[in-house]
Subunit: 132 residues, 4 copies
Amino acid sequence: MSEYTFSLEMDVRDYECDIQGIVNNAVYQNYLEHARHEYLKQVGIDFVELARKGINLVVVRAELDYKMPLISGDKFRVDLKMERESRIKFAFYQDIVRLSDEKTMVKGKIIGTALNTRGRPEIPDELNRLLE
Amino acid sequence: MSEYTFSLEMDVRDYECDIQGIVNNAVYQNYLEHARHEYLKQVGIDFVELARKGINLVVVRAELDYKMPLISGDKFRVDLKMERESRIKFAFYQDIVRLSDEKTMVKGKIIGTALNTRGRPEIPDELNRLLE
Amino acid sequence: MSEYTFSLEMDVRDYECDIQGIVNNAVYQNYLEHARHEYLKQVGIDFVELARKGINLVVVRAELDYKMPLISGDKFRVDLKMERESRIKFAFYQDIVRLSDEKTMVKGKIIGTALNTRGRPEIPDELNRLLE
Amino acid sequence: MSEYTFSLEMDVRDYECDIQGIVNNAVYQNYLEHARHEYLKQVGIDFVELARKGINLVVVRAELDYKMPLISGDKFRVDLKMERESRIKFAFYQDIVRLSDEKTMVKGKIIGTALNTRGRPEIPDELNRLLE
């Protein structure tokens, strides 16, 4: 597996922790989504702008391995790379890494596609170029 | 695959929808978690009570297939069954079904374990009995 | 103050509770919003449909008195009434009441307006009729 | 009103935006809470540590004035100061300011207290010292 091409540092916020005192499972998906959108923005693709044009980037499958939980006060990094999964699908490989000891807390593979204005899968040109 | 053993009906709430006008990906994990906890409560296992005793039910892996998005106003049902995955792991198979046309929107497989007070995987008796 | 005109029953979901084991402050605003949207829908006003037409119902001020916290397992009811606050503002008086003992947990006053397609405050006719 | 004593910069994350394309009302409470906890941590008071000792910092009243909405891509700052409200209450004055033009988007006054292990209001010493 090749190297990660983008990283984003974030902090755990207390409201993201649940009764067990750990970051709630669903919140990691928020972290991963935010990192993907920031990555795409950096390479010139704006999720919200695309949505306004009728092109919706959507997740079709998510695989998440929860290794260890983040807790209040933790700082972490989301490492990310994007690869073509098929003609109409792309995959994000994403790791959530705790900064204090570089331990991987969550490993994710998020598979997405783009739906055009008629709701059919069609990868827009700017994304295709990125996947070459 | 055997039949589902538990169902919970819920409504989409507008604050759960995002810019695309559809339920945000992470929110489905909330729906699935709520259905699991309600199921466990029904069979006499209280997630919060266990946590207070130092036994934490945790998710170790989540696989989610997003078929179609729920939107504002949708009513849906989470169907669920629980199976043993290994000696120290159990799996929830969960479908999110739109009530208006019985279409499956999301299929999930959520694998969990229980951590004892020393943080080691150990399925409590009441859960073992359920998995027999 | 006149009687409440709408009520909605809901359950606390475990993911809505935080490290203190109680429903997080921000979540009550979600409960209140959901109750307002359900009320409006019942009287024929759809928040999402209006947004699509370019008319945005927005909150301009929220006052929330937190009396007692809801916890995991609690069932509650949101009682609500709507009153005109000024020519271009309306107010929702909303109580969150725990079902087990009819105790009021949160009292809210949420003041809103409607922004027309030019972003100017203008109450749509269907809402004006409701406020008479 | 005296000067703000603490500021925290944050970004809007797309999942925090709703169907109207703006940050959802409840999310601002998350922003404000995160800023309060970071401030308290900076002056040596850890919300989560206190909770573990049985001392719960709780919000008793929130007043929020929503001036203008944050949208996807916005960067903002939460400015904050803390003042004594009464013998057993303290108040946070908090402004959410958009960085691009220094416009105030939300003004908040959040009144809190601390509950001791018996659930009675009692401001811990470290907080009292801060309020002098």
